[in-house]
Symmetry: C5
Subunit: 354 residues, 5 copies
């Protein structure tokens, strides 16, 4: 299950800007890929050594450098030095567990947000921190591990579909953010499906499993909400229009992502409302059930306990019990007992317990 | 039951502005109707081919083009091209599931909101997205399917009742929004009636069905709220007075719709408060009932279990039990047993359990 | 019981400004009364025909026209025409169910608010919409039915007590609003008394009736809150100082009403807090009671069921049961049984169940 | 128990500014005391007739007039006339039950707030309204009854401790407000102690008394909160710096009171959080207990009811029951019964019910 | 367990600025240490007499004076006099229990916040008030007792790591605040671990201990929240840029702490959400369990009570009971009884109780 807080105590006390990776220790090599393009041509390559990307800093074409893996401090440090990135930004990049935020450093723009994905096996939601550093004509994206939601963007770049090759690096950044936000919808769909299943369960046969499912989905909702909520501010900041690196033509697109973000947040809030409604409904359904059980118990006990008493009476061994000798005593006894039983049934029917 | 989120995963990844309809696949033809009018004359016609409406773009008269059905991307695309509508707006129009919003593009104004209606059969609330694109002298309304709340507007137009034929296209747009908001009142009435029925049930005989009804109405409330809440901002934006397409004389009317919207939102909030009050009341009513059941059980058990024990005592077969031989043992036994029973009844009366 | 929403579906679809009364159909004649005064003299009369009040529009003296009953559209329409009132305002006047609001039309000021009263018979709170149209030297008040809280104002006018005859029409309007707000206090007192009764019940003997009373008072609170809450904005708007019809000397009085309104709202919120506290307390009191019942049941069952078993053992008819023949078996049996019983009692005492 | 609303219906309808005392009728004489001081000298005296204080209005020294008791309208009225106080202010002074507020009338400043105290006998919190009217060099304090938290201030004045004799009347007003706010801390301490006692009860042996205690403390919290919350605004208004009667040097002291007020409010909110946590905990503790009771019942019933049945079987009087005649039947029966009993015990142990 | 309010009643009534220590009485000597440094050299020493630190006030190098223990009023008073600190600030320093705040006095800056730590033995969170007074080139830190989170800072100073020796006193202040905020993360980790343990318990075997644990963690959360929440304002105030003592280059670092603070607050809120989710889940789990218990009871009672009655019937001693003499009566009786038992079992299986 996901954690709500990064273990970072090993970091506490080190000077600000010192790079300490706080995620899981990993040993595979960091993967660096590069796409360099303008309207005319596009070059894609895998980079072995980080210094290979440095020349692209000054090239007039748009360069997108994507880095998968944050555990090699050396790579991050070298990028930081070459691209003049503030040490605190580098710290935020490797110290995953940041709240989504945006910072404008005039020369470059720093954006960090959460990419959500579904773990295929457990059907649980996972978050990965994506950091974007956008300069004048380059964009560096940092991911915790391989695999992302940007394949469609790469295809559009290669296929030269839409505005993407004509527009600048800010449009590329927008496209990446847009992909991440669009992907939230599929996460929400998954949550929505789970909610619908729960709803059905709730109307039919809620049990202990339902309780755990409600708890789990509530927890997921808290997690998703925490990841998405700050995004609103981030995108609002981007489209405010006072960031020199973002062109005016891109702002209408940012407004679109903003609307999507609001929609996502709205839906998360709606889901939260629904979940709390479900919990209330579940609680009253349990109470209802207990009522049912209690009624059955009460009916059985209230009918047969008095009758057993009456049977007990005539099981006594007193020498002088005149009824015992009467000829019709036994059938009369049965008549009385049955009458009593029927009386009880009528009583419970009137009380609507049967 | 309505969904809270549009299935849109098939869309994720496509470039912004690409038109993909996300509603249910449908095959019937899109219906286009047109009303062109000024103070003197009015022309109404059904249009077969979308290009037939293009000449009206430049006509000095007010033209209202209504399109029922969004599944034919071609029609929407052509309108977009001819009327110079931004691709992102077109995307919002076909991608139903938008949050109500308003955008001012100087040349035209884009408004999208939710029309609510009651499904006659299931008595459930349904939402349909209505998008309005209002230009200088034309207004295009997009609906998901046939059937709307605008018939009274059409009658007023044809009957030349009130200001409508004298006023401009902004007044027409106001009239449509007003019709939609007015319709919310009848939805709320329906909800209010359901709430009153529930209230009666709650005071009389709440049961499992009540629980499900409360849950369902709560869900409907969440749904209605989500559809209506953002409207406030939308209309507030329209009446702010900085939109060149809206004349000053229309603003007093917009203020009226705004008041209605606030009233609707107020009522929805009140209903929410009431529903949560009902749930609390329902829960305590169940607990009360369980208490009742428990008391009956306890009374029966507490009275007859001891008596059965006493009967059991004299059902024992010990050889030396002096009481068994006493002449008055049996009547004395009865006296004791009845006294005990009456004692218990008095005890429970004192405890107010009977 | 009061409704939270006016049935207005018959209205939906009619053009804005069309007058349709939405309250209960009533046939009695509308009552119009008029008080015309300045510092020197005061004239009061009942008016038969509405046109009789028209001359007072231009008179330099202050004229207060009070109209009881809104079901005669003709009267309202004529007033609207003669006093130049916007059709949408007239619509708000007859369409009771408005949210309290204030609108400044330069020439006149429109205020609508809720007058609360107690139905003597049912002890329930009722609301009546009061609309005030205040011009340069006239004030028209519209009420749904006869009977109001303004008698003290009329007495002050006639008795020439205080500032009222010296001050202008804005002071008269203030006085009316003040009377309505002052009246809220007596409504709150009534609610407060009910709450105190409930509190006493809660500490003594809460039962099903308590639940229904809590629910009812909660509902009343929601109702009162909905009627009063928007008043804050209304009076705030009046005292902002940018309304030409209100003189500066009146503003200090408006500030006083504002303080009262805040106090009323404060008290309503406090009452809500208390009611929710009561509900919680009620729920736990029920649980406590159930616990009591359960304990009694458990004690009886746990003591006597094992003893009954032991009695049953010696009621068996096995031929070879050596105990049956022992001379002291029966008294020993009693000793064992009583010891067991006492043991159980001690056990339950230790568990604090007895 | 304290009331949340002043009975003021007798007041409703009287003109604004008319003085009607709404507290309890009381007959003892109003007590007036006066302290007149500057840096050099201090004069303290009890005043019999209110007119005796009038000369001090113009004296250059600082004069503090304290009035205990508000039931003599004459005294208040005369003060109002001589010191030129607005009738609405006088009304607020005698009409206890005001929300804490501050009003700047240029010539004088009006502050009203709540002094809280503990009733020694019942250990309940009581509120008393304190009103301060501060002029150029006089300060009049109105209290509902004798006894206040100002003794330390009087001592400091007489002892000439600290800045108090050197500073102006605004510093005196600050000192009084500060004393009242400081006193809130001891009220909070009392509440805190009660909360801690409750906490202990909750972890040990929560019962019906606990429920009532939680309810009572919650009610007290609502009361305290209502009295303290508006103070924030009041002091914020005082230190805003646009009030001519308050010198700049006093503002740093007001900031200090402001911090204390925030701290008090913070603590009240924290207490509220804790109380609601307690209630939740209490509710689950009851449920837990009921579970315990139920388990005991179930264990007894489930073990002995089947055994009683088996005993019943061999108590039957059928003529042909072969087991009855078997020699080892009785011991075998015991073995079976004991085995069954042990089996049940093991079963319940496995279910963790024992 | 920590207190939510400082016992300060002994303080109430004393003049503002009078120094009364309100923490626990302690007798050990106050410890004063001093670090004086610039880029070139660093001097560290323990100070015996407070006057030894006075010369450093004017030295051009940065001086950090750390004071452990606040119970010696003399020391605090002398510092206040020499460093020209306002008496109210000194009062805030010794009167622990302040809300975190920041005040700019032009000549110096006063910051007070809470350092949280874990009591090793009880695993409970403790708070200690840290006050910082930052002048032009000195910084005085006041702590309640020895032991803090500043060791890493001291190491960095001595090791001349990072910017710290090159930067001014404002950077030192930032570093201290940063250390405290960083330390919050380890507190949150501890809370997070407890929450995870609780979560596991909740899914497995929740019991009375779980209830107490949830209550305790909730209480800790309230405590942590109260300590951390106001920090946001504090740091926001520091980085606003209008404080002359803080250099522009430090602001980017303050922004970093600000982000961390937001993250901490975010996490606390998330934890609160989770805890309340846990409580709900716990409550329904108890209800579920009670349901289980009830079902077992009902099954046993409903099966065996009727059978016991039937056995009772044939234990009766009527003389004329024909069944008793029938040859196959006993086996037939068994067949009936077993059939009935199986019938009940089937019934309960169908009801899903078994």
């Amino acid at each position: 299950m996901f954690k709500f807080i990064q273990k970072s105590s090993k970091k506490a006390g080190s000077p600000p800007g010192e790079l300490v990776h706080v995620g899981k220790k990993r040993s595979e090599k960091i993967k660096i890929s590069l796409i360099d393009y303008d309207e005319e041509r596009l070059e894609e390559k895998k980079v072995k050594v980080i210094t290979d990307v440095f020349p692209f800093k000054e090239s007039p074409t748009v360069t997108w450098i994507n880095i998968d893996g944050l555990h090699d401090m050396n790579v991050v440090k070298k990028i930081g030095e070459h691209f003049d990135i503030h040490p605190l930004v580098l710290e935020d990049i490797v110290h995953t567990g940041q709240r989504p935020k945006m910072e404008d450093f005039e020369d470059y723009l720093f954006i960090t947000l959460k990419m959500l994905s579904l773990d295929k096996k457990t059907n649980e939601i996972e978050a990965e921190q994506i950091s974007l550093v956008m300069g004048n004509n380059f964009l560096i994206s940092f991911q915790e591990r391989e695999g992302d939601v940007f394949d469609a963007v790469r295809d559009r770049l290669k296929g030269n579909k839409g505005r993407i090759r004509k527009a600048g690096v800010d449009y590329l950044a927008y496209t990446l953010v847009d992909s991440i936000v669009d992907n939230y919808f599929s996460i929400l769909e998954n949550l929505g499906d789970k909610l619908e299943d729960l709803e059905k369960e709730l109307l039919e046969e809620p049990d202990e499993k339902t309780r755990q499912a409600i708890y789990k989905i509530k927890r997921e909702m808290i997690f998703v909400r925490k990841s998405i909520w700050p995004l609103r501010e981030v995108i609002n900041g981007l489209m405010r229009g006072d960031i020199s690196l973002i062109q005016d033509t891109t702002i209408v697109y940012l407004k679109d992502v903003y609307d999507h973000t609001i929609q996502v947040i709205d839906t998360v809030e709606t889901f939260r409302d629904m979940t709390s409604g479900m919990l209330d409904s579940y609680l009253s359904s349990i109470s209802n059930k207990m009522n049912e059980v209690m009624k059955v118990l009460t009916i059985f006990a209230a009918i047969f306990i008095p009758l057993t008493f009456i049977a007990g009476v005539y099981g006594m061994n007193f020498e002088f019990m005149p009824e015992l000798g009467w000829e019709w005593a036994y059938p009369v006894w049965w008549i009385i007992v049955i009458a009593l039983g029927i009386g009880m049934v009528i009583y419970f029917k009137k009380k609507k317990w049967m």
